[in-house]
């Protein structure tokens, strides 16, 4: 068992136990367990191809794990077994939201519309599953105004208010990343999963992202699980780091603990920055071959 570094409290929002995922002959995840604490930012790191996104896809229901249990406990105490739920139910009922490594926005819809689509389920209920809303009932109008307010709130947080009426596909890369996070927040999640939110950002955009993420945690208390390569982001904002290599956990603890863990240094951090890139690329190639 990994040492539980954060002894202040033990109120896990997400518990992953003995998770395994097999693609044909490839064991992408092998008996992986970890916990994410409520209100914390948990980072999942590891060399490219270590299986981080696969863990994500299992947690958010896009993959059905070969084995293992993923349970999520809401603030209210209600527990959901995520591996048994369909992907959309995980967002709708368990209130887990996610973003994607290669941004998936509705490029032809405006920024605002992207945020309104995220409030689909709330608005559906308010519109009496469309039938009542069709007649323009005041209840729906009120709900719609509220949804625009919520969108406006997140647009401000993500510094996108000026671009609200532009097509999402027209935004620069960094803004698209922030929009995707804002869109996920519009589903009002208790648990937010971010897949490499800082990838491809320049330092200025990276800073804006950090502000957004810490703001989210501070103001909404949303727990965050993030996959990240950018060590500055990981070390700066996360409370708890889990390190994955070849589908297995090699370290688990506070950023300081992980930074000094010899296994992690050997696998990942000990190598010079330029070399990290090389190593990552090599591993990627091996992984790609493994998949085919």
């Amino acid at each position: 068992m990994a040492p539980e570094m954060n002894t202040m409290k033990n109120d896990p929002i997400l518990k992953v136990e003995h998770l395994s995922m097999r693609f044909g002959g490839l064991m992408a995840i092998n008996d992986f367990s970890f916990e994410a604490q409520r209100g914390e930012i948990t980072a999942l790191i590891g060399p490219n191809g270590a299986g981080k996104t696969t863990v994500f896809n299992c947690v958010t229901g896009f993959y059905k794990p070969t084995m293992g249990m993923i349970s999520m406990t809401q603030k209210s105490g209600k527990t959901f077994l995520l591996e048994r739920m369909a992907d959309f139910e995980i967002t709708k009922d368990a209130r887990v939201a996610r973003t994607f490594q290669n941004i998936r926005l509705f490029t032809g819809l405006t920024v605002l519309e992207n945020l309104l689509v995220a409030q689909h389920n709330t608005l559906m209920r308010a519109s009496g599953y469309t039938f009542l809303g069709l007649f323009g009932l005041p209840a729906y109008k009120k709900a719609e105004a509220e949804s625009i307010e919520l969108a406006r709130h997140w647009l401000e947080k993500a510094d996108l208010t000026d671009r609200a009426d532009d097509p999402a596909g027209d935004l620069p890369y960094g803004a698209q990343r922030r929009l995707e996070i804002a869109r996920a927040m519009c589903t009002e999640p208790e648990f937010l999963c971010l897949d490499e939110p800082a990838a491809g950002l320049n330092p200025r955009e990276s800073l804006a992202l950090n502000t957004l993420l810490t703001g989210i945690r501070r103001e909404t208390g949303t727990s965050i699980l993030l996959i990240e390569h950018d060590m500055s982001v990981v070390m700066e904002i996360s409370d708890h780091v889990v390190v994955l290599e070849y589908g297995q956990k090699i370290s688990d603890g506070t950023p300081d603990h992980v930074k000094n863990d010899p296994k992690v240094i050997a696998a990942y951090l000990g190598v010079e920055d330029e070399e990290v890139e090389e190593v990552i690329e090599e591993i990627e190639e091996i992984e790609e071959e493994g998949k085919h």
Partner: protein, 300 residues
């Protein structure tokens, strides 16, 4: 039992024709990812070309040997159909390559309407019957096999062998497969993508024209609407076999042919097309990638 085998033979013949057309669909789909809706009409055009050449030859050279006659019909049909398909690709599909996905589909449907109506306008709307070309029938263990069935099955086998060789063993086939996998990369590696795609259309049309000639010989009649139903069935065959897969297209064609003749023999002929389409729907619902298609993994 004999009745069953008889139906198998009939189904095999029909399936060979579908298979030949299906290859054109599957190759074009494989290489540029579009349903070439006009392909069925290229098949019909091939049948008409064969018909016209047949009339020319029989009126100019009386008593031409049937083998020579058939070969000349086939050659003329292949040339004409190939030229049509080449022109259509160049004029109607190439400008839309890489654009909006539905645009080429609509263009292809428009081309299909154009072609069948072009033939209707220029050749008239009536059925065009010809006297039987090959009429011998052999009796093998109580099963009657006509010479034309043998010709169709043998010719299909020969063509497929040649075709298989071209696609798998020649530089042209390599270029085709490379273009299919990654068009940009193929172009970077010095493959003339436009030319490769043109040749694919020409090859597909050639096979469809042979199918058209066989169809004319087998049924002894062709009409301008003949592109649609065989076209849809051949496309069904291509999907059934797994679109993009050449052996899949042939197997799919044979399956459709067999289903059709067995259904007509044992159930009701009225619902034979319903049976074909239902099987298509069922296969797609349970195995969307077809028999030989690689299952698509959803990338998140």
């Amino acid at each position: 039992m004999e009745y069953f085998i008889q139906q198998l033979v009939n189904g095999l013949t029909l399936g060979s024709i579908y298979g030949l057309i299906a290859i054109g669909y599957t190759m074009v789909y494989g290489i540029i990812g579009m349903i070439n809706f006009a392909h069925g009409d290229i098949f019909m055009l091939g049948g008409f070309a064969a018909l016209i050449i047949f009339l020319v030859l029989t009126s100019v050279f009386v008593g031409l040997p049937t083998v020579l006659l058939l070969l000349l019909m086939m050659a003329a049909a292949m040339l004409t159909a190939a030229l049509w398909n080449w022109t259509i690709e160049k004029v109607a599909y190439r400008p839309l390559r890489g654009s909006f996905r539905l645009a080429p589909l609509i263009t292809a449907i428009g081309m299909s309407i154009t072609l069948s109506n072009f033939v209707q306008v220029t050749q008239g709307p009536r059925n065009k019957p010809i006297p039987p070309l090959v009429s011998s029938v052999y009796n093998v263990f109580g099963i009657s096999i006509s010479l034309k069935q043998i010709v169709i099955v043998v010719l299909t086998t020969v063509l497929l062998t040649v075709f298989w060789y071209v696609v798998n063993k020649t530089a042209l086939g390599r270029a085709q497969r490379a273009t299919e996998q990654d068009r940009k990369m193929a172009a970077l590696l010095g493959i003339d993508v436009d030319r490769t795609i043109s040749i694919t259309f020409i090859m597909g049309a050639g096979l469809a024209a042979v199918a058209g000639t066989m169809y004319l010989m087998y049924y002894g009649v062709v009409v301008f609407t003949d592109g649609f139903i065989p076209g849809v069935k051949a496309f069904t065959a291509a999907v059934l076999g797994g679109i993009g897969s050449l052996p899949g297209a042939v197997i799919g064609g044979l399956l459709i042919g067999l289903i059709e003749s067995l259904w007509s023999a044992y159930f009701t002929i009225d619902y034979k097309d319903v049976a074909t389409f239902s099987i298509l729907a069922i296969v797609l619902i349970f195995k969307p990638s077809g028999i030989f298609g690689r299952p698509e993994v959803e990338k998140v």
